[in-house]
């Protein structure tokens, strides 16, 4: 699933956030209530997107720890809006296409009597489109 490629420009387009405005003050990270649950912190999100190190972000669970409380957006003096950027990273992970986690051939291996059939169908829909 990690073969998705996203560029700085795509994430900027998806989020509307302007990462180049960041002056690296760290006010977003200072404000973040989910700091302890994150591998990468809000200022790192901004920096990693700005410098094109996006694969690491997509592979990390950090984006899903964000509470979307918007404290960083509210307080960022440069109007970078980190939370919007994090949301874009989440969308990039969620809306990926062409993933092959579950192929039709694999279904007999994973299916058992306890698993609702609906779950398998849902998984196929989500990942193999």
């Amino acid at each position: 699933m990690n073969d998705i490629k996203k560029t700085t420009e795509q994430l900027a387009f998806m989020s509307g956030a302007v990462t180049s405005r960041c002056m690296g003050c760290g006010k977003c990270t200072a404000s973040c209530p989910a700091f302890d649950r994150m591998e990468y912190h809000p200022h790192q999100f901004v920096y990693m997107v700005e410098t094109g190190r996006i694969d690491k972000l997509l592979a990390s669970k950090s984006a899903f720890s964000c509470l979307t409380c918007f404290a960083c957006v509210e307080r960022c003096p440069r109007m970078v809006e980190p939370a919007r950027l994090i949301e874009a990273v989440r969308l990039a992970v969620e809306r990926q296409q062409g993933g092959n986690r579950l192929l039709p051939d694999d279904v007999p291996c994973v299916i058992d009597d306890d698993m609702p059939q609906q779950a398998v169908v849902a998984a196929l829909r989500k990942f193999t489109k």
Binding site: C25, G26, K27, T29, H43, P77, R78
Partner: protein, 661 residues
């Protein structure tokens, strides 16, 4: 028919990289009236100017067009060159092919095409140019300095030192400005009062300097060398020539509810007060908003106790009118109010203060007598957190987009002084970048870290909250990639500085330009940094941009040097490009008089001979010394009588025709 020479400047690669200069020269040769065209790498250089002079002599040129940079840059240079070759300087015109063409375009072909059109318009204009002679106007040998802080005081002292009279207008009851409120000054840590008050006294005692304190500029008219300024002397309700500054009135005043402005409201003053002990002039002033006499008609304790009989409740504002040759703007700055930054809790917690408030707390003449006590419970703070860049370098509505420049250094100063005086105090500083360019500045900051053990944390503060009666500062430590929480007894915000609110009104009066942050614009950011684009208006101190005391004093002296240069002239050459009215066309409608922003047009009855018909008519007359050549009247005039020399209607139409050809 004119014989015109066209000179195309490459400006190194500034023009030549985008405009095909050879093509431009070839095109020029085909223009009507052009007898000579040439290009050169740097037309403004000595050899470039010589090229023009030689061509004037060799080809008998009667007009010159220089295709180069903006006329604001080098029009005077080239006109001087033309004049030295025997040409009337107003027979030379500039076609701006740099700012208006090469700098803003990328495509060589279309830029060249535009340059050709600009050249063509200039040639068309020169074809109709006539020789103009500039008049002279006298210079009033007195300068006005607006603002009595360190910038204004220094400018005034230097102008007076050169032998000229100078007036300081200060809106507060005393001169001294922000520097008077400071405790110590970086990087040498000398006491601000010790170095400022002698200058204040010197200004007051210099017979060439007149101080209008508690006064404001009401209106400005006139022009360079001859400004007329109305000054409102606000009523102190105290006779200035009687008051001895003994301070008895202030002692006896029963009103004690008003925050003392000098200590930023951290203690109270009476309704009648002397701003501070070293105030210049040392005169009492009554604040009618707080005075019981003004509110209830009773009291009058101050008047009863004043032995000099100086209190006069009926005293009114006075307007004085003065003439000046030059004006120095030194209106200074204020720290911004950090209340909109709600997360920092300035309006919620009394122990979150600004740096200027700390300055007063540290000052021996301040509300705590110089003992470091926090506002809430007057306890000695053991843990102090400084937050830098509050409101500076931001893009939100409450932010200033610029770096306030002085905060890094004064924060290092505060941190160092506190550690020196109270070594048991822990001091942390949250910073984004430490910016300390300046002589001995970085060494100063390093001393705070290395010698005084100030804890610098790279990161910003997310919020200041209260937990069990203690302030907790939540910040980030970006070097450790950690979130930090620091308990603090006192939080000090290094807030941004902004130009004084009086500056914009004043800029309108002076027709001086300002930038989007309300800092005055200089005539040239590098080469004319202390002059406003408005002739005769000079800039001193923070009104032009954030700066510290050493820089302010240098700039103040520089502005004074420019003023002295102006005042040392007996006469100034006027701009000959002024309006004039054709008396046979004028119908006396007064339209021009109404639109003239300088009051240069008057109407007089005059007998005219209109093709043999003699009659008395009401006609417009232009005072050439007052006219600034803005051209508003030429547009307003319905009969076409009003015209601007050097920019006649015919010339402008010829330019338009040339462009549209």
């Amino acid at each position: 028919m004119q014989k015109i020479g066209v000179f195309v400047c490459w400006c190194g690669s500034n023009i030549a990289a985008t405009v095909d200069v050879r093509k431009l020269v070839e095109a020029a040769k085909h223009e009507p009236g052009v007898v000579y065209a040439a290009d050169y790498q740097y037309m403004c250089s000595a050899s470039g100017q010589q090229l023009i002079k030689d061509a004037v002599a060799n080809y008998g040129l009667t007009g010159v067009v220089v295709c180069s940079c903006s006329p604001r840059m080098h029009e005077a240079t080239f006109r001087k060159a033309a004049q030295s070759a025997g040409l009337n300087p107003y027979m030379l015109e500039i076609a701006n092919i740099r700012e208006h063409c090469s700098w803003i375009h990328k495509d060589v072909e279309s830029a060249t095409e535009k340059a050709v059109i600009l050249m063509r318009a200039a040639v068309a204009k020169v074809n109709l140019n006539v020789s103009l002679t500039a008049g002279k106007s006298a210079v009033v040998k007195r300068a006005l300095v607006i603002g009595g802080g360190i910038a204004g005081i220094q400018s005034a002292l230097d102008i007076a030192e050169a032998g000229y009279n100078v007036d300081i207008v200060e809106k507060k009851p005393t001169i001294g400005g922000k520097m008077a409120q400071l405790d110590k000054t970086f990087p040498t840590l000398d006491c601000a009062a010790c170095i400022l008050t002698p200058k204040m006294v010197e200004a007051a005692s210099d017979e060439r300097i007149r101080i209008y304190s508690y006064s404001e500029v009401e209106s400005v008219s006139g022009f360079v060398g001859n400004f007329t300024v109305k000054i409102r002397k606000k009523s102190r309700f105290v006779e200035e020539d009687l008051c001895t500054g003994c301070g008895l009135c202030a002692e006896k005043c029963p009103s004690r509810k008003t925050g003392n402005e000098f200590n930023l409201g951290m203690d109270k003053r009476g309704a009648v007060y002397i701003p501070f002990a070293q105030a210049v002039p040392k005169l009492a002033v009554i604040d009618p908003a707080a005075c019981l006499h003004f509110k209830t008609g009773k009291c009058g304790l101050c008047a009863k106790n004043c032995q000099a009989k100086a209190i006069n409740f009926d005293k009114k504002d006075e307007i004085v009118e003065e003439k000046y040759g030059a004006i120095v703007v030194a209106t200074g700055f204020n720290p911004i109010d950090p209340s909109p930054f709600g997360e920092l809790g300035y309006s919620r917690y009394p122990d979150v203060i600004t740096s200027l408030e700390l300055e007063r707390i540290m000052n021996a003449a301040g509300p705590t007598g110089g003992v470091l006590l926090r506002p809430s419970d007057k306890a000695h703070p053991k843990k102090i957190v400084f937050v830098q860049c509050v409101g500076s370098r931001g893009l939100r509505g409450c932010d200033k987009p610029y770096c306030s420049k002085i905060c890094c250094m004064y924060t290092a100063k505060h941190a160092m002084l506190i550690r020196e005086k109270y070594p048991d105090t822990e001091v942390s500083v949250f910073y984004i970048d430490v910016r300390t360019p300046g002589k001995n500045f970085d060494e100063f900051y390093r001393r705070a870290v290395e010698q005084y053990g100030v804890h610098y944390i790279k990161g910003q503060v997310g919020k200041v909250a209260e937990n069990a009666g203690k302030l907790v500062v939540h910040g980030s430590d970006l070097i450790m990639n950690e979130q930090v929480e620091i308990e603090a007894d006192l939080v000090v915000l290094a807030v941004a500085i902004e130009p004084d609110e009086s500056a914009r009104k004043l800029a309108t009066m002076l027709t001086a330009s300002m930038d989007t942050n309300d800092f005055f614009t200089e005539a040239h950011p590098k080469l004319r940094p202390v002059e406003s684009p408005t002739a005769g208006v000079f800039l001193s101190g923070v009104c032009q941009g954030p700066k510290d005391i050493p820089e302010t004093v240098s700039q103040a002296s520089a502005a004074a040097a420019k003023v002295v240069g102006l005042l040392s002239k007996d006469q100034l050459t006027c701009n000959p490009c002024v309006a004039h009215s054709d008396e046979l066309l004028c119908n006396g409608c007064s339209a021009c008089e109404k639109v003239c922003p300088y009051g240069a047009i008057t109407y007089q009855d005059k007998e005219v001979n209109d093709h043999g018909k003699r009659e008395v008519r009401r006609l417009a007359f232009v005072n050439e010394a007052v006219c600034q050549g803005c051209g508003a009247c030429t547009v307003a005039c319905p009969s076409g009588a009003m015209d601007l020399k050097g920019f006649t209607n015919r010339q402008i139409m010829a330019e338009v025709d040339a462009i549209c050809r």
